[in-house]
Subunit: 277 residues, 2 copies
């Protein structure tokens, strides 16, 4: 693991790191904020932030405004990239909803994507092991959240790994990627035409199929232009109601899909996770 | 004035705007955050943030983490660009310390720069008039701050306009640009070889020449790699001591020159200004 950069911020250290990833077969970059509470060798809880389409680790690291809250609560925040990248990684450079920047936190099953697009394994296995080995992380106390495609990632990963994450929340998540216009084509290419296989990466389907989390926190901008196509938070509301999963979904009047929305409610989410981790 | 973008954030509105500037003879872009307190037609104080070398309005708008504090305090934050830009504006594209992105908040006197590089007039006259006409701004209650080259801008502009700004602070300012290695060549090209003329844009010289502000707040990273060349905060300390200007200068252990430093102390600065505006 190489250190790309590391600088003091809000009393802790904001770093960016790079490593040769085994799961995605390419170099991967990620950011880690270590809060001041870990300075004396103590371990602290780990909060995973998964980013949305087109993003790298850098978007939330630059614009997420999470460091003040994470420093106050004493939690590590890890922000992975959203896909494999680089020479040899199959991509559609003109398509922002597929390929690089659009890994959808799944393990692809179809050629030629299955060799590299394994973000589910990367985020749930390889990167946690690397973080545990290199940072003062209490891996028994993890939480996960994300934005848009990363909200989908957080929901599905928490649902598929009961007990591993003590808390799960999302900003404007894609709650039903198997029907959303901006994810169906990607799911078909990554997972193949059999839509039964897509259920393993669809939060509403996972809930219908019996996966459970103790509770969920979701904030959604009411002025988000993608409400009726990509997002449809009411589908998550329905699924949670049927399953008896407590969901705190708040529609935020006037807010859009950008980091100007995410950053507004970031401190609330970090504090909510910290209280549960 | 055209609206480039506007989105709700932290209860207010973060906008980016563009206009044909008379002083700099080119289109200029700037950002304005209007806090929720102005929603009902009330005017609120205006805090000017001047950015550093290579920056546009976007750096602090994305990474500055000022919105939460500005929304709490009820102040408008305006972030201008750092220079004129575009076709017809003389530049040295390979030189980050001169030309576009390096206007040094002065009015150039030398050809071919004097036609466009008039950031002092732009920031003190043209843009305030535009802001007053288009935003719920109480222009009797202004404060000014900035980072690095923008810290130089804030200090010199406050010193040269006694009474106009109720408060002035800086992050890692260039306190003596007429001697600093990274500004001397620019001053020579913008202002000519007669260094007497440079004193009008040098905070320590302005103080020595009798300009006064009621007090100053400065934060400086102790791990900033530019301490001994570009910054030398002890020169400002000397000048203020001789002049009897109260200066609260804090060296911040471990912090560098980046926005990871600026954002850490941003909320403190915004609150400090709000208490004085």
């Amino acid at each position: 693991m190489d250190t790309v950069s590391a600088a003091r911020s809000h009393g802790g250290v904001q770093g960016v790191y790079r490593h040769e990833a085994r799961t995605t077969r390419c170099p991967m970059t990620f950011s880690v904020f270590v809060p001041p509470q870990a300075a004396n060798g103590d371990t602290v809880p780990v909060l995973w932030f998964l980013s949305g389409l087109t993003c790298t680790h850098a978007n939330v690291t630059d614009k997420g405004e999470y460091r003040a809250a994470a420093a106050k609560a004493g939690v590590i925040v890890v922000a992975p990239d959203t896909s494999p990248r680089g020479p040899g990684v199959p991509d559609e450079p003109d398509n922002w909803q597929f390929g690089c920047g659009a890994g959808f936190y799944l393990d692809a099953m179809e050629a030629p994507y299955a060799d590299h697009y394994r973000m589910y394994s990367y985020v749930t296995e390889e990167l946690p092991a690397l973080v545990a080995a290199n940072f003062p992380a209490d891996m028994a106390r993890q939480g996960i959240f994300g934005h848009s495609m990363g909200g989908h990632g957080a929901l599905t990963i928490a649902l598929k790994n009961p007990g591993r994450y003590r808390s799960c929340s999302a900003f404007a998540p894609i709650v039903q990627p198997s029907t959303a216009g901006w994810s169906r084509p990607a799911f078909a290419k990554y997972l193949g035409p059999d839509e039964a296989a897509w259920r393993a990466y669809d939060a509403t389907a996972l809930i219908a199929d019996g996966c459970r989390v103790p509770e969920l926190l979701v904030d959604q901008g009411a002025a988000d232009g993608n409400l009726d196509d990509g997002l449809k938070p009411w589908l998550l509301e329905d699924a949670c109601r049927r399953a008896g999963i407590p969901l705190a979904l708040t529609m935020r009047e006037g807010y859009d899909h950008s980091y100007l929305f995410v950053s507004t409610f970031m401190a609330d989410h970090v504090a909510w996770h910290a209280a549960r981790m």
